[in-house]
Every structure is written in C-alpha cells, then in structure tokens.
Symmetry: C2
Subunit: 338 residues, 2 copies
Amino acid sequence: MAITVAVDCMGGDRGAAVTVPAALAALEDDADIGLILVGSSAAIEEELRRARAAPDNRLRVRGATETVAMDEPPATALRNKKDSSMRVAIDLVKDGAANACVSAGNTGALMAISRFVLKTLPGIDRPAIASILPTQTGQTCMLDLGANVDCSAEHLLQFGIMGSELFAALERKERPSVGLLNVGEEEIKGNEVVKQAAELLRGSGLNFHGNVEGDDIYKGTTDVVVCDGFVGNVALKASEGVAQMLAGHLRAEFERTFLNRLAALAASPVIRSFKRRFDHRRYNGATLLGLRGIVVKSHGSADAFAFGCAIRRAAEEARGAVLAHISERLTSIEKNVA
Amino acid sequence: MAITVAVDCMGGDRGAAVTVPAALAALEDDADIGLILVGSSAAIEEELRRARAAPDNRLRVRGATETVAMDEPPATALRNKKDSSMRVAIDLVKDGAANACVSAGNTGALMAISRFVLKTLPGIDRPAIASILPTQTGQTCMLDLGANVDCSAEHLLQFGIMGSELFAALERKERPSVGLLNVGEEEIKGNEVVKQAAELLRGSGLNFHGNVEGDDIYKGTTDVVVCDGFVGNVALKASEGVAQMLAGHLRAEFERTFLNRLAALAASPVIRSFKRRFDHRRYNGATLLGLRGIVVKSHGSADAFAFGCAIRRAAEEARGAVLAHISERLTSIEKNVA
C-alpha cells in the first residue's frame, strides 16, 4: 500500500527552501510514498524549478494562502488561519487524502489545530509528544516531552500504551518493554501520581519493566520511557544541553593549538563515527501521539536532511498502522477491566 | 578562624580505605582546617598507620561502634544506630564540636538523621539537596536534586534563597542570578506551582532571572537553578546518562582499530583536558541545605580524590557562613512581607 504524506512546506525557520528539497529526496529514497506539498504555490513551484523537478502522480502541490508564524499564539492560529499550510495539511489527513502530515511549524499551534481538527482517539484524554532517542544499545521511545505539564496516573498509562505501540511499529518489535521514569527503582519511590501509574501499568498487560531513572533513558534499559510532559521536556533539554557542552568543549580543544589541530585530523574517523551515531538530525521528528491521525513535528531549525527524516518517520508510522494498534490495545484493556 | 569538619569514615562503598587517605590529603591542602575522623577506631588507626600518620591537634579520632549500611532503611538507621559513625558525625555538628560533617553513606539515612538531630532552619520547611554542576561558562548550583518529590511554590522560593546564598558563599559572588526550571521561558508556561513560584521569586528581592529551560543549566544562563526534587533528580541523572553514553562511544571508537588507537595517542592532550574539565569527581559533594548545620553527602562510590573534594566543599560552606546568610535573608524577606 502506498502511503501519502502531506507536507507543510511553509513551517520552520527556512520554509520551502528546506522542506521542498527534503520532500524530493524522500520521494527518491522511498518508491512507496507519495507526497502532497502544501503552502504558497509560488514558493513551492520556485523550489521545484530550482531542483528541476515537477509535480507528477507521486508529487502533488496543494496551494494554501496563509502561514502560521513561529511565534503566533496557538489560539490565534487556530481561529484565524483557516487556509494556512499547517491547517490544510492537517485537513488532508482528516479527509483521508493523506495518511500522515509533517510540519516544522510552531509546536503549540500544531498541537492546537491537530486536536481541534482530528480529535483524540477513543480512550485517550490528551495527546502526548513522543520522540525516539539514541541509547547505548539502540534507541528508546520517550513520552510525553512537553504537551502535558500536569498528568494523572491514567494519562501516564495511556502514554505507556501509545509509546509501546509506536515503538512496536517503528522498530518492528513485539511487546516492547515500558519503564516509568522515577527518582529510584524501588516501588516506594516517587510521588503519588507515579506510584498509582505504576500500579495501572502493572495491570495493563503491557510489558511493564517497573521504575527507571534518568540515566536509564540512555542506557537503553527499556524500549519505552513514560513520564509527564514537564519532567520529559526538562530531561530532554538538559540532555541536549550536556551534549552541546561536551561537544563544544571538544571542538574548542581540538582547535586550540596547532598540535591539537593535527590530532583532530588523525582522529577524524573517530569524530565522524561519533557524529554519525549521535547526529540529532537523524532523530528529528516528534510524533503528536493520541490523535485520530498521524502528525509529526520537525524541529523548526531542521535542515533538508533532518526534515527528510521527519517525513520518513511519518510514512513509517502510517505503514505500521500505529493508530489502529493503539485503538486495539485500548479496547482489549477496557474489556479486561470490564 | 579554623574550621573543623567531622568525617564519617565508615560510609561509602569502601569506607576507611577511601575516607582516611582523603582526610589526610585535605589536611595537607588546607592548613586552616581540622578534622575529626569518626568510625571504627581500629579501621581508622589501621589506615593512619598505613599512611604513616598519627592523630594530632588537627586530626582527631572519635570512635563509633556502628555503621549504617548502604541499603539500610532510613527509619531503622535513625531508630537503632545511635552510635553509628554517621550519627556521631552529625551529633558533633549539633554539639558545636564540628562546623560541618561529610558522609558517603546512604542518602536517605543521612537526610533522616540530619533532620532529626539538627532540625531545619527557621523559615525552612524542608531541606533540599544542592549540587554544583559544570557549565559552558563556569558552574551553576542546582537544587532540589531529589529530597522532595512534591513541592509547593513556597518550597521552591526557599530553595531559591538557599541556593543563592550557597552559590554566593562558594563562588564569592554577590547577588547570584536565580532561574526557575520550566518547560519554556515565557511566563505563561508551566504548571500552577511553577507559575506561583515565579511570582514569589519575583517579589523576593533575589536576583531572579525568570524561567530557564533544561539546556540553560549547562549553558550557565543563571548561577542557581531551582526545581522540585523529582524534576531535578531526573534531569541530573539523564545528564549523567548522556555524558556516559557519549564518553563510552568515544572510548570504544578510539580503541576500535589500530589507527584509531594511534589517533587517541595524538589526541591525548585534548582527551586529558576534557577529562579534567568534566571530571565528575571534582563536583562530588551534594549539600543537604536548610538544616541547622552543614551536612555534605559524597557519592558512595567516591575515590579518595572525590571524597577530598566533598571535605573541601564542607569546609568552604562553613567558612562562607552559608547558614547565617540564609537565616539573614529569610528574616529580611519576612520583614518585607510583614
């Protein structure tokens, strides 16, 4: 089955100059997808011309006259921008013309419009933001990364179900292990919400591993790590901050003296392997999970390579039928409880 | 004024074999401190003999017949181990025989016994765990790192006051800047507790910078970063996890081929500078802040170098009169409010 992805071409810091080349590369990489480029027809066509490409049956263009600004309040974008590239891309998913959509635009607006247009899946109270992170042993899916700053135990259970099905679909792994982020491994640790969530997860039929701590994320202790959006957002950004600090220091040291610059030359295979493995662009693409449609958010500052990874992520989620699996799992849990 | 530090010699994974050599090195480094070594007299004296050292007016030994185990429940340690090295070291602070104490023992027991013996400062509801972390530009003081998994806005204000005075004393900086850890910089971000805490901090007379995000910790955006113990613990451990993952990958790559091993040799000045700057042993020593006495917790796995850093931290806090400054600040805020 061919997968169609709607691409918001106007979102992100550089708009069509990044999104259109990324779309063309994605079409070349994966013969089994089609794309609908959404946004200013003039801007999209100019980028297509520059790349000597033209619309065909796999590459369609859908004009949209407005753009959601990166700093626009979500409520304003939702109310006033009915013909924005973001809104039209989401509408295409809602109407069944696309199996998924991708945007590098304003996260708050993307979440607000997606919730309004697509609604949440039955049994899901709130969508979560999920990402795939590199670990010592492979990768892990972590959620929520900032959509919900206050969560109940039931929300954390729902995140566990959604993360588990997302990981299963993307990594083709049955019964991924699920960890609950906490301040200690012992069952008595944590606040009341986390303790209750652990009980719910234990009774859920998921492959629940128990509590995990912050360093377990990158040890790869579990396939999925569940937390509220406040903790997840801070943990992710703190991780990025440490990585930037360490990489920045290494870079400065390797440039500090003539001998160090020679050493950098000698160490270039190591440095290249390091960059390849932990290139944050490869992990670009966070999923707004729990909606009746697949919506993937790219970093606003993504380049064409990174934005292409987000398009592929969206296509893989559609191919893996993540949403159908989440719904099935929710139904089976409800039956068990009833 | 000479500072006296009581050292729990039995705590930590290796007990006196680490703590006694660390104590002797600290005495050599700083002519202005005296130490009281607390624990099994036989074990301490054996280590002193091994190092060809003997008690004198700067180095006293105080026997204690019991040891708190690393996995002992805090309540048991508090109730049953009245003559443990940990308890006796804290008692010495309470009695005024020492200005501060240091232990590499069980964190929960150390917190429980410290609270029971020393009590909290007037105006402080709960002690917090504070640490100094390396940043791109220097260092930052972060708290709470795990003592309090549920915090009110008032607690976060108290953490801000305590962290500010701790940083001022350790780094000799007037009016350190204080950031509130949140999921975005804008005032509307975060949950209710954080929003209320921001208001309290704005009115506190502290040098309040506003909200900071996870990556700001390591950018060094503010001198002090305030958060609840759940978020702080997860952020710190996630940071450690990333650093370990990156360092582990670099190490493995530098050893993978013969050429890479040669490159490692060429890059050794860079690698050494890197290790020196981010050596976690240099940052060893978390302060249990908010008690009527200075208690510093060393990592259980600390070696003699790391444990020595924790001893120096305790001495510096006593020298900087951190607790007196916190009390003054609390009194002045109360007067302003009244």
